[in-house]
């Protein structure tokens, strides 16, 4: 039955020559309301074929709701979702050629690992033996062949995670949805699985849509990231875009650590904006569209883009005093107090200790940055 639906979908695709039909997923003006509560406020986004796409945001931002709408577990209040050009918003989950890796894995407890992985193939009409042999191959891919006859409860969390992945990939979905699949694993295993997932995506060429609240995970794995908050998309872009050029306060604050400074824009010339912050300090940064002279906005400067010196360096320099050094393993975070200005956090790599770029608390010094290291934010 599902195969029929897919074939029909294929026909549609051939007939529809609109350019959007090459996108794996296209969400158009999707709204989700639960009674009076709006979980998603008109989201539109296009996910390309073969892409590792991440929906990133704090809990309650609507990222999981959007994923479940693509999977078919939540209906779409308004708007449309297209899969390779075909509308899928009205199809039940079992007729959508997408598979999900659930947060709690949802492995069928009464079936063996092999039966779990073969389930989707059997439901799509493959014979039992064919499904089992394909499932066996999938287990080989995730290196769990020896566990084929065990029950899910006899496996560790990391192994269950890989079974869930094998089960979702076995029917060769057009898009794989991953709902915070790594959140239950410990840090080391999580790091290893991040790489494994990334490799698996490259090898299979299947579009992955990954949901997470862990910004580091998102930056590590994704081709593109959609940052969401309160049911709205805050920014969509590559990890570098999101990290280096956050569009607004929320994104700058949510992704990584940053210094958020209140500034007012004094002048704009030649693509540069001159701003002043508390205590009469002045800074120059790149102009941002939509922020004009006189605007009181925030400026974000990543702690690792700052460095300290005894004499002012080239570029921007602000005079300050060391308040505290905090050792965080690979790095040292230094809190710097500007004269009559805000505090800064400066992050210095631990290996820089030899270069004497770390100062004792109380030392008067300069905080420096390259031109353009700061980023003006739309509130």
């Amino acid at each position: 039955m599902p195969d029929e639906a897919f074939n029909m979908a294929q026909h549609h695709k051939d007939a529809d020559m609109s350019p959007s039909s090459t996108a794996a997923i296209e969400v158009r003006d999707a709204v989700k309301r639960y009674g009076t509560f709006t979980a998603l406020k008109r989201i539109s986004l296009t996910i390309e074929d073969n892409e590792f796409f991440t929906l990133l945001g704090p809990s309650g931002c609507g990222k999981t709701t959007l994923l479940r709408m693509i999977a078919g577990f939540e209906d779409v209040t308004e708007g449309a979702i297209h899969l390779f050009g075909d509308p899928i918003a009205d199809l039940p989950p079992h007729q959508r050629p997408v598979n999900t890796v659930f947060q709690n894995y949802a492995l069928f407890p009464h079936m063996t690992i092999l039966e779990n992985v073969a389930f989707g193939l059997e439901m799509r009409g493959k014979s039992k033996s064919e499904a089992r042999s394909k499932a066996g191959e999938m287990l080989e891919l995730v290196q769990l062949s020896e566990f084929a006859k065990r029950k899910p409860s006899q496996l560790s969390g990391g192994q269950q995670q890989r079974v869930a992945l094998a089960r979702a990939l076995a029917p060769q979905p057009k898009v794989l949805l991953l709902d915070e699949p790594l959140s239950a694993l410990d840090l080391k295993l999580r790091k290893a699985m991040q790489l494994e997932l990334k490799h698996l995506q490259r090898e299979t060429g299947i579009t992955f849509i990954f949901v997470t609240h862990d910004q580091e995970e998102a930056l590590t794995m994704s081709d593109r990231i959609a940052v969401m908050s309160a049911g709205e998309m805050q920014q969509l872009g590559s990890p570098t875009d999101i990290y280096e050029r956050p569009r607004n306060m929320f994104v700058a604050d949510f992704i990584g650590e940053t210094n958020l400074l209140e500034v007012s824009v004094d002048a704009i010339a030649g693509g540069r904006a001159t701003c002043h912050l508390g205590g009469g300090h002045e800074l120059t940064c790149n102009e941002v569209e939509g922020i004009g002279v006189g605007a009181k906005v925030h400026l974000s400067i990543r702690p690792e883009r700052l460095f300290m010196s005894e004499e002012p360096a080239e570029g921007e320099s602000l005079k300050g005093r060391i308040k505290e050094n905090i050792f965080v393993g690979t790095d040292i975070s230094t809190i710097v107090e500007l004269a009559e200005g805000p505090d800064f956090i400066v992050r210095t790599s631990n290996s820089d200790r030899g270069n004497k770029r770390i100062f004792e608390p109380g030392t008067e010094m300069f905080v420096n940055m390259e031109l353009g290291a700061g980023r003006l934010l739309i509130d």
């Binding site: 577990f73 009464h110 439901m123 409860s153």
Partner: protein
Amino acid sequence: MAAVNDNIKSYTGFKAITILCLVVLYAPLVIVTIYSFNASKSITNWEGLSLYWYYDIFAGPESAKWKEAAWNSFTIAIVAATMATSIATLAATAMVRGGKFKLRTASFGLISLPLMVPEIVLAVATLIFFNSIGFTRGYFSILVAHTAFCIPFAYLPIQARMQGIEDSFEQAAMDLYANKRQAFTKILLPLMMPGIISGFLLAFIVSLDDFIITNFVKGAGVETLPTAIFGSVKQGLKPNIMAISTLLLGVSVVMVTISYFVSKKDNTQ
């Protein structure tokens, strides 16, 4: 500082109350069981070990009556428990998986109400209802009445079981191309099975041992074991009653034991 002694054995009167309860509950059962092996025709004088009364039930002058009553009892219990369990399974599916619907709490109350209504009221009500619709009393009226009052007994363990099954299993099944029916039969039903078996066994026992309702709706000539035993006791207590009671007790113990082990087996983990 002395450790707080929360060992229940140290509570005042623990031993006495425990022994009293056990004696009141189990002494009659033990005595009936022992005296069912008595060779005497008297129910109180012990005259030596014998299987005579068991022989009497199966091959004595009244054996036909006992066999028919037993046949009625067991077939009614099996059919009524099966039907009640099927209905209860569907009811539990709707209640637990049907999302929030109006009157959900009221529905739950309606399902479990018969457990709280005095059985005699239920018996009279059922009798009046059957009479008013012209349902002739006999084997089938017992069957229908038993099915009805067994539903809440079957429902409770099934519902309890189902509440412990996350709905992500069915979602995973549907995500993997199973339609609603396949998700139910291949995933939900096997996971619910321990609850369903417990529910069935409970319904079976409740049906097997019901007297009051059966006595009201059975009509003349149709007897189940409890009504046959009651009828026989009215004509004087004979030791064969003890043999039958002991056999029924044996069936109950087996059922309860199976139910216990089945409900302990957790296949959701």
